[in-house]
Each structure stands twice: as C-alpha cells, then as structure tokens.
Symmetry: C2
C-alpha cells in the first residue's frame, strides 16, 4: 500500500548541557544507543564498524548530505523534523531501487555550543523515521564543526529481486506515481509567507512521507524503471527518461491535485496554475515514480500519469512545460 502513517509529535528533550560538555564519545553513544536495532544487525554500534546481514548476497547503499541553512532551517523545522526528513530522503532512494531499507549510519558535524537536547531530538527523529521503514541506526560519527551538517547512509536488501534502475523504461510502458506531489512545495510557500497552517501542508514540507513499501511492491509487480521525486516530477521523470533513452508524456488530467493544495493557493492569492506548478515541479515529497509494462495492472496505491514513448524528454499533454525552473540543483 502507498498510504503513509502520520508523523508522531516530538518526544520531550532529555539531554542537558551542550555537546561540547558531553564530548564526542558521549554523543556517539547517545546517537547510536541500542534502542531497537534492526533485525539484520550482526554487530551494532560501539565497534570500529557495524556488521549487517545481506541475506541475498547483495546490499543496496545510498548516501545523502544535508547542510543547515541550505537544506533545512532550524527556525522553520524542529530538530526532530529535520532528523525525520533527512532519513526519509535517503530511505526513499533505497526504496526507489525496489529494496527494503534495513539500516542507517549517521554522521553529524555539530557546533560545540549545540544543546544536547537538540541532538537528542534530531536523532530521535531519525530513529522514528527509520522505524517507520523498518530500519534502525547501526553506527555513526560525530565531530565538531562551525555548521550543522547531517550525513546519512542508508542500506537495504533486494529480497532476491533485481534492482529497479532508472534505465529500464521501454516505449509503451505506463508511467505512474505513488505518493504525494507538490505538497512540500506548497508547504514551503506557506512558510516563506510566515504562515504555519494548514498544518498538514506545512508538515509535508517539514517531514515528507515516502511510500517506502511501494518500492519493493513495484519491483515485485515488474516495474521496469523507478526513481524517487527529490527534485520535482518533471525533473526526476527527466532523469529517468534520459537514463532509459526514452521520452515520457504526462497526461495533465491524471495529475493528483489535492483539494488542500487548491485551498493553499487560494489563501496565498495564487492561481490554479500555481497548484499545477507545485505538482509538476515541487521537490522533496519523495513520491516514487515508476514505469510498468502496459499489459499489467498497477500495484495498489499507484496511479498512472502517462506513457513512455520513443524519443527523449518529458512533455505534458504532448508539449514542453515551459515554466522553469523545473527543479532544484545545488550551486546553480
């Protein structure tokens, strides 16, 4: 199923003092404290390295780096939200290979004046999101830094299936989505205007809800290609199309346009075009996009958005979508 569970509230902060007072080893012990290691853990935190089962003889692995002020703002999100979001982005990459997330390693570069409670909340968020996907934190590193930087490495298992890459789409395939589109962008628009509601939309920006189980389910249903939406529907469909050497045409009538997003656009004095723009170009929702053979049904929770065709690039109703920028790229 594609449906995601709700995001629980922040747990109460428990740590006192600053990370400088606690010290490196105390902080690593806090982060990697054994609070339910994932089932495939052969050796958990506390040694030179962790050891994990890789039951079918392969391991899926992906790494993401997030920087304060670039990827998140501590005035718009709590540390708990940021922890959840960082983990969600990375586990979505694992799910987009058709794999089941198993474990995380967490690297933190933290200013010494940071309250221990902030790190506790950050890592509680990480642990909570990892748990939602069935994974856990098995190792990490903590160092001092002028800037808060979060580095996450996620591992997963393929359960005997082949990985679903970006490059296997074939003309004639159905192009589909599972998960939200445009919600994070709409939430960001609200935050930029100083608004904190509707909470469901602002919350979607703070903590995405990737449909983790939809990845392995798509793989089991014969998905030919898959990617998660980090940069926006058009941008990530474009990455998939380019890797597969195909074109993708999206049927605008099939796009999921939530009533909530229309309400937000109205509240912000924006047009209906704005909602479509959020859905087509908004990043960070971490929905999954996949292509399926035309002769089969889509798995539960998946929605057909268009067709794979010969050629290149992504079109909407046969035409280029020209309201750029189509995504978010660092350094540009």
């Amino acid at each position: 199923m594609c449906a995601a569970t709700g995001v629980p509230p922040d747990p109460p902060p428990t740590g006192r003092g600053t990370v400088a007072e606690l010290g490196e080893f105390g902080l690593i012990a806090r982060i990697t404290a054994d609070r339910g290691l994932p089932p495939g853990t052969v050796l958990g935190p506390g040694d030179d390295a962790a050891v994990l089962l890789a039951a079918d003889g392969r391991v899926v692995v992906s790494t993401d780096v997030l920087v304060e002020g670039v990827h998140f703002r501590l005035d718009w999100s709590t540390p708990h939200h940021i922890g959840r979001k960082a983990v969600a982005a990375n586990l979505a990459d694992v799910a987009a290979m058709g794999a089941v997330p198993t474990a995380l390693l967490v690297g933190l570069a933290v200013p010494g004046h940071t309250p221990v409670a902030t790190v506790d909340s950050l890592t509680a968020g990480m642990r909570g999101e990892a748990g939602r996907a069935g994974a856990g934190i098995v190792g990490g590193d903590v160092v001092s830094s002028p800037q808060l930087v979060v580095s996450i490495t996620a591992l997963g298992g393929l359960q005997g299936r082949q990985p679903v890459t970006r490059s296997g789409a074939r003309p004639g395939d159905v192009f589909g989505v599972c998960g939200r589109l445009g919600w994070s962008a709409a939430g960001l628009a609200l935050l930029r205007r100083g608004l904190r509601s509707p909470r469901a939309v602002v919350g979607a920006h703070r903590v995405p809800r990737p449909p983790y189980r939809a990845g392995p389910q798509a793989a089991a249903a014969g998905a030919t290609a898959m990617i998660d939406v980090s940069d926006g529907l058009l941008a990530d469909a474009g990455h998939l199309a380019q890797a597969s050497g195909v074109g993708i045409d999206i049927d605008s009538a099939a796009l999921p346009v939530a009533g909530r997003l229309i309400e937000v656009a109205v509240a912000l004095g924006a047009s209906g075009t704005q909602v479509r723009h959020w859905v087509l170009t908004g990043g960070e929702d971490h929905a999954l996009l996949a292509c399926f053979p035309a002769d089969g049904a889509l798995p539960p929770g998946w929605r057909g958005l268009g067709v794979v065709q010969q050629g290149s690039g992504v079109t909407v109703d046969g035409k280029a979508y020209d309201a750029h920028p189509a995504g978010w790229e660092h350094f540009r």
Copy 2:
C-alpha cells in the same frame, strides 16, 4: 604483510572553474565517474543507490566525517592528501574488523567558490587510497555548504570469517601492533613549527598508511580483538581493554621507536621522552592493534607489545602513563 606501498604524487588537476559553475549533477558525475569500479559492484554510480555484492551474506560498514579546520587544513595538506587521509581513516576501521574493504560512498559539502580542480584532486586522492586497499567509489552526494565537510562510508566483506570486535580479548593473550605509531604526531609537530621536512614524517601526518591487509590476516590467525589507532596507542588500547573487560600492560622496551622520530625530536629540541610520548599517545597513524592467543605465533608484520591481563586499564611497564592528554576527543 604489514608493509605499505608509497604514496604516489598528486595527479595534475584537470577541472576548470568553480563548483558553482559546474553545478551539483556535474560534480557528482565527476566524483563518481566510472574509473575502475570495484569487482563486487552490481550497480555503480548514477542511480538512486548503488548495489554491491556481499558474498558471504554480511556487510561491514563504517562512516566518518571530517571538517575543514578541525580535521584538516588546506594550508598544511593538499586536497589530494586530504582525500587519501579521509579514506584511509575509514578503510582502517573496516580492516580493524578483520574485513577486506570493498567500496566507498563519498558525501561532500563544498563551498560554491571551490575550484573544480580542488574537488578533482580531493576525489583523486580518495580513489587512489581506495585503490590501494582494493576498493572503489560506488556512489556519493555533493551539496553546497559554507564549510568543506567530507563524509565517507566504507563497506567491506568478511570472507566467511567472524568479525573481530574490540571485546574478545582474554587474559593471557598477546597484545600486538601492525603499522606505524607516533609518525603522524611527529609530522604534526613539524608542521606546527612551520617545517616541511623530513618529508617522510610530514607525509605520515598528511597521509597515514594503514596496513589494510593486516586486518584480515590477523582475523585468519585467530585474533581475539582488534581496533585501529585513531586516537593514540594508549587511548585505543584503552577502548579495547574496556570493551573486553581486561587490562593491558605494554612493555616499553617493545615499542617501535623509529630512528626518524628521534631525529625529528632532536631537530625540534625535544627530549627522548617526547618520542615515547608520540608513540604512546599520537593518533591518526591508523596502525592496527590486536590481541592473539598466547599459544600461536603473530602473523607476519605484527609485533608483540605486551600482554592482556585481568583487571582494567592500560599500563606501561606495570604503571599508569601520566603524561596526559592520552588522545584526541572532539568538543573537549
């Protein structure tokens, strides 16, 4: 064998412009460019995640974070040196489990004004050091940041053996070392005095030479516990002793004291006590420390340093070594 190969010189930088001009995707492609993927690579860079073989159904994994100005200085080391050192520190953790390094994922947070040539040199150093250990870069992430932060995750395979933890040492075991001790600390002392020679010693600070193969060899020889020297001989022997619930007594006559280090001490106007202090407390050489059953011979390249005994803590010739600080801990 414990002997390490020499460190080759920097390759000529090839990139032009800044990372801001090249952009995120261009930079990721440069870093993860397929320049000899490791043999166990099922799926290399360019997709949502990498896929690696884990031949015996388990994977060893460790992560390290390094921050400019905290862990390295661009005026004391070239980007190539820094890349090598970051990878060496992490692969040494994998070797210290008795595992053979297989693959790396690299996360970089880079200021936009950084020259592409700097990133090329950094990643060439990473690739070079990974190659020395038989591993390669299979994935990564690059983001913009005010500060240069390098995050490395290393993976390895146990080849059917059990992992060698820190916690298996038993009273009566022989405590031994493979690799250099005190060289990095002596090199740092030279750099702090504005000196750039002897090059072999300064070079040992810039690029450690972990004896990667000695880790699996120790495991095959029945090592009961193992750790790499990140924080200093006494500090890391202390971590091992604590995890194993034993004491370790080091025989000062058995310590490896290189003539080069004595020359450096003399040149700096320091005493012989200084050399012993470097050997006992200097970090970042990433030698391996291990305990072996008393009834067997140590593997080639390993040197006995003392004995494991009942009790706790690490002593030198039966006495506490009181010239603290005994290691390097962040935030303290």
